[in-house]
Amino acid sequence: MSRAVAIGLSLALFAGAIPGVAGLGSAEPAVKAAPAPATGEGVGQAAPSPDAAAPASDLDADVRLAAADFERGRQEFFKGKGSQKYKQAAAAFGAVIDRLSPRASSLDVPGRRLLAQALDYRAQASLLQGQDASADADYKLLVQTDPAYEPDSETTSRKILDRFRKIRAGLVATVTIDANPPEAEIFWNGRSLGTASELGSPRTVLAGLFVLKAHRACYEDKDIQGTLEAGESRIVKIRIDPSSRPIRFETVPEGFDVDLDGTLVGRTLVSPAADGGPSGPSEEPPGTRQNSGALVVPCVAAGEHPYTIRRDCYKTVTGAASVIVDFVDRDPLIIRVVPEKQIARLRVTSDVPGSTVTFEGSPLGPAPVENTTLCPGSGRLEVRASDRLLWSDRIDLVEGGVRIDAVARPTLRDVIVDTGPRRLAPAVASGIRSRIDAIAGFNHVSGGTESQLREIEGEETLRRGADPGRLDLAADLALLVDGSTSARGDFVRMRLTPALGGFLQNESCGVDDEACFDRFFSGLTSAWPVRSALTGAGFVETLDGKGVRIVSMQEPARGAGLREGDVIVSAGGNPVDGAGGLRRILDETAALPVVAETPSGRALPLVVQRGTVRVEIALPVALAAVVPQPSSASVPAARMLAVADFEASVLPAGERRNAALLTLASLLIGAGEPSRALALALDRPGWSENVPGAASSGTASFLAGLCHETLGERDRALSDYTKASTADTATLWTPDGLPVAPLARTKIKALTK
């Protein structure tokens, strides 16, 4: 017989056995109802070994296989022929016993029943073969497996029945469990017997030590231990007491979060029970009925329990639930609240037609927004015209009405031009507009991103110099550093950052002094820490004011069309009189505004003399971060500090922010302020790793090492230098500047000597 057929047959047999085992103590129906399998195979042949028949882990499969073995044994036992039939039957029952007895404790009721029957029949087979001792051993094992087992009296001889009962009487006792409350779950020697109410009449159990346990949620568990003598009949009483009580929070309306003992325990939800509560909808005025919600916390220990009931737009309710455990009254403690609703009304107007208003990202509709009701609280209000942010601020919505006139934010140029009774000369105003826009990229004031419009708090008026006709450049520079507009957008708030204190000089220009502004802004421009690094420039030689001859070069100069021997006679429209002049032109060409986007593919137009012809070539100029040296005196340190600090504040993480931080550090080191260089730049978070060149974090580590060394912190200096010594691509000041790693190694060697 194939394996599939054998299993199918087994399943059929086992299914037939189930009704028999369901009626505890009556195996006969199962035996009788089981159809006799039409098989000619011998027991020994069909019985697979336990190991081969089923995996040990598959208990159900074991039981099914055991059922098949059992059925074969039963057939042999009742219908077999010949003198060997009991022996063969005993072997089949033995297969069942061997398979199931090692796992008796894991068997379910039918499984145990099957094992018990196998033991019963093998014992009978043993007796019929005169093996009394073996039979007695099986009966003892049978009783231990199922103390309530009773052999089938119709198929079992009276003599055998008596023998079994005699053995059993020496091993079992009778117990009646009286448990309270009836809902408690009862455990006998760790095995669940079900709820107390299901236990019914006395139960036959094994004599000896026992542990009776009762358990119910919100009640205190109890164990009873004792010993039952064989043949004893006893009533065991067990009672457990409540230790806590449910609390039912009811709110009108629903949806309130409930904190109990400082922990969120849930939210009140609509439920039929809530609506039908003891003080439910009837208290609501007609027409204003709201859904009430409820939350039941099932077991709350006796004592005081503070609670908070909260929901946006409602007043928070707090209180303390006093839980008393009552043995009689087990109804939940009901806490019912109707929190007071809060409403803020918002009115938003805009001076830009077609603008839309959002609050905390939720659209409120096109401006003007009239008396929209919102929950009180703080949030970000934005007014946009398509993608352009016109106005944005964090506002506090208080109960009652709030009116926001979202006048489009003034651009920086508006503020600068507004100098009081006197007016800027038109040329100066125009120059400032273009330069400020270029230098500071202050488009963000009128159309930038939220991140650049932060830290608006308090109000100040525009600070001016003593002479209202003069712009206070120091103050305006501070504006660049920390410029932000007020909630109403009608003034500019300024704040000197700590980095600037003591460094920012009070310079001022007359409002019509164009030359003064030129000087000021050219200083800012040259402070810009991004400069050209003409890659592949190679060697050049000067030809006595007649240009610069290219001696050698690399890419991209070659790719741009330059050749060795070419003489550069002009660059960017300016005549080239020497290598120094060419470098200056390159630097100036690449100088870019502070937060302006770096153009890609920037090129410098060159005119070169090649033999007798002149050729025009566009030379790509690579941009790379360049950091001023500490001793650089070409630009006033205050301006450079201001720009660098501004950049460090607003630029996203990346090479340029690193460059700004390093510029700040470098200037402070040059000013003899190593601790401030550390605090304001080098120890500032947000360095971008993996940036090569002069804006590398390795460069920062090296400078930090210098600062710590100056401050006498040798160990920290060594740590910094060690980090810098692995920054193979880091350089100082320029992309082709001094390599940081060997410098750091030099310092490490010096410090460890």
Binding site: G502, F539, V540, E541, T542, L543, G578, A579, G580, R583, Q629, P630, S631, S632, A633, I669, G670, A671, G672, E673, F702, L703, L706, E709, T710, L732, W733, D736, G737, L738, P739, P742, L743, R745, T746, K747, K749, A750, L751, K753
Partner: protein, 538 residues
Amino acid sequence: MRRTSAHIAVLSLLALPAWGQPDPGEALYGLGRQLLSEGKTAQALQKLEESVRVSPKGPFADDALLAAASIDYPPVGLNDLGRATASGIPKARTRLETIAKTYPDSSAAPAAMFRLGLLEMDPVNPRASLDEAYATFLQVGRLYPRSPEAAEAIYAAGTCLLLQGSRDAAAGEDARLVVEHASGAAGERARLRLATSAARRGEMALAHRLLGPLLEDEIATTGSSNEGERTASPDRGAESTRAASVVRAKQLEYLFLRAAEDRPDRMGSRVLDDAFGAKSTAGESLAIAVGRDGRVWTLDDDSGRVAPLGGGGGQGASASAEGTTFAERPRGFGFDGRGALVGWDEKGLLTRDGQRLELIGPPARTDASGEPLRKITAVAFGPFGEIDVADGGETRVLRYGPDRALKGVAAVLEGRPTALVRTDDGTDYVLVASRREVHVIPPAGAPPSRRAVLPLKGPGWELGSPAGLSVDPLGRIYVLDASSKSIAILDEQGRRVASIAPARGTPAELKSPTAIAVDAAGYVYVADRKPARIVRFK
């Protein structure tokens, strides 16, 4: 912060006259300065002291003290060391310390503290202490980081470390200087020094980058790549410090490139420098040296005249007008701390004006005075006027200050020293020909354990009769071997890293070499006989 408070202090002091009496010290200070400019130092000193006395808290007290200290002790920079007299040092020290302590926020304070450091390291100071000087210089850098003296002080601190044999620690200070004071003169000098030490440590990428800006500068200004320009005299061709640094950078760059090409397996790789040619000399050259100006000077055996070789590759150009014929025939010559030519023979130093200066050896007993040296075999001069002497009589090396005061016995040798070279960091290299050894004697401040003896032999090579010795800025030792008529180039551990062994029959062949010198760029000069000539190897 300190600068701000200094400004406030100055402003408040300057404001005083507007409120009442003019500062009584001002006029005296002005008078003192005027007398000083007229060369009346004694009277000037009197007025300056009076200025401080009448207005010790006035705005000119610090300036007056500094001016007075300058009379007692004139040096204002490292180049001035070794030129002062010891007598004025105690008074100068007192004045400078007064400025540093009493007027720490004054404008004179950084200069005073810097000069105090100079005074503390000056070899003419009998109580000189490099440790004290180093600490003082560091204080200048820390207390007055933005003062003009800060960079010079850090450089000088590095010099103190070098003179104590702490080359690595000196490189650390130079690295700081290069970063924090890159654009000044001291920063440039630190670049050069750091480049040299980086090259010695094998950090060639750093060494080349350090030289970069200086090399670029010359490209931009002169555009010349002429070989001859590389060794141009800083004093003659360009007087500025910057120009000197540029020339020095060129020399170092050339030296680094040559050193990188030297390999033990390429013996004789150095070739005769055709651009230099073979300069004939009137007579055989007993000694050869490269002056601080980069020119090659020789001592003519026949005439006893010491003169620079003429430029332009001309023949027989030894009779330069700059030459000197000493009153007594010297055995050798050198250039002292001021760059002045000094001859020497067995019994002492010879000056150009005919003086003989004896050198007194250490006393044999504590209760006796020392005897003049009588068997000097070699003399070397330090950058600050130090004089190191090989005493053949007692087989030892003695060290003297610029004033010929004995500083100590550097080493006692087991053989007669035959040649002596002193490097800028104060290390002495002594050739003991009889034992075929080079002894490396560390600077006075360094631990004696640094002393090394390098045998002039190794696997597969041995010098038969070493006759001359020179050392380049990378610390590589050049030993002239008269028997094999070749030059062995050794590294600091005594391993032969290259050799110059001209083949027979070639113009470079050395017939009877007598002396060797190596310049700052690593060019090797050899004095040869039969015919008498000086050749240069690349």
